[in-house]
Symmetry: C2
Subunit: 225 residues, 2 copies
């Protein structure tokens, strides 16, 4: 089936201590975001990318895609006020029955394997939400008190959150709610069940300066394996 | 007040892909565990360490402590079948009214600042459980279904879990329960409330090979700051 990846890259470089938006920080000489795009493009030759960027970064994004020589497969659109609105803008470009990946631009270590696993499950069950189990103890805090929770029941959610278009597109016609923190919550609010799938501990979201160093090491390991 | 640190180091090197128990893996030429001990010893000159090691590692531990010239301040005892039993063995050595830190040996990046913060709060409130807020979305899985949970209410628990002896020692006289995954759960089961405190994102638990690389980078940053 036809495949689309809506790649959302709206972060600033603030927490990274940089003026450069984090999606354009360099990892071994190339912008983070370029790794993300390349892995999706490589996984399926019939996959189209809709890259959602803040208005201020559109030009930088266009230059990057041009250098990659991928203008035909990567379309750029402008982000909105929240993640929901950004993804909504991206989805507006999709009319076809398809499998749609929604992915954080700064998860630049996503593998072809994880993308293929998500595709397969979304095709069979309608959705695939990659998730891993925490390695530390967890508690829930409420009204100044806290309670332990069984970490074996908790899942840390990653992307690409992957859906069949018939489920994802109607869900994004809903009115925005502040509880829409990811695509899974949007799809659930529309009355659908979501299905988790094993994620990948190395599928890191680049958030802090140290993450760039970690990403470089994981990348080296991926390239030599 | 007198201070004790019960440092638990019972891990194997399995997940690290090494035959060396992970607490003895080298970080810039020194065993991980040595960093952990040094930071506690440096923070307070009246602090005594009770190091809990698996039987097979006692000799390696003794050699390390001897090289550090810290035999007077570090006592070694043998671990038990679970974390609860290991900590219990360590606490058996403590008779004095004191503040007691219970710490993972492989959290070798713990700072003097965090130790001092935990001490202060334990003195005032009876306990201090360092915790940080997750950066990813979370779900709870049950019976094949999953539900989103508000990540702003979830805390990732670290060590040193710190208590006043009058709370911690009696709690460890309880019968073991499988729900005793850390010291906070033991203290709660004994009818006491525990108090969280801001942890430190860099206070990493060395679990996977990549963590050693990350630890080295954080250590470099700490040494130059």
């Amino acid at each position: 089936m036809k495949k689309f990846a809506v790649i959302v890259a709206g972060g600033s470089g603030q927490r990274m201590g940089s003026d450069i938006p984090k999606q354009f920080l360099l990892l071994k000489g190339k912008p983070l975001l370029q790794y993300t795009l390349q892995t999706f493009l490589k996984t399926y030759s019939d996959l189209q990318i809709i890259l959602v960027l803040p208005h201020a970064d559109i030009e930088t994004g266009e230059e990057m895609v041009c250098k990659m020589n991928m203008e035909k497969r990567v379309q750029i659109t402008t982000g909105g006020a929240t993640r929901f609105h950004s993804v909504q803008n991206g989805l507006n470009e999709i009319r076809e029955r398809s499998i749609i990946f929604v992915h954080d631009g700064v998860r630049c270590l996503v593998t072809e394997q994880l993308i293929a696993d998500c595709y397969q499950q979304a095709l069979e069950k309608g959705s695939a939400i990659p998730a891993v189990t925490p390695t530390d103890s967890l508690r829930v805090e409420q009204d100044g008190d806290s309670q332990t929770i069984d970490r074996n029941k908790v899942r840390i959610i990653q992307t690409p959150q992957t859906f069949i278009s018939g489920i994802l597109l109607p869900a994004f016609n809903q009115q925005y709610q502040p509880s829409f923190t990811d695509e899974a919550t949007v799809v659930e609010a529309a009355g659908n069940k979501v299905h988790l799938i094993d994620g990948d501990y190395d599928n890191l979201k680049i958030t802090r300066p140290i993450d760039l160093v970690i990403a470089e090491k994981i990348l080296e390991a991926q390239l030599t394996s």
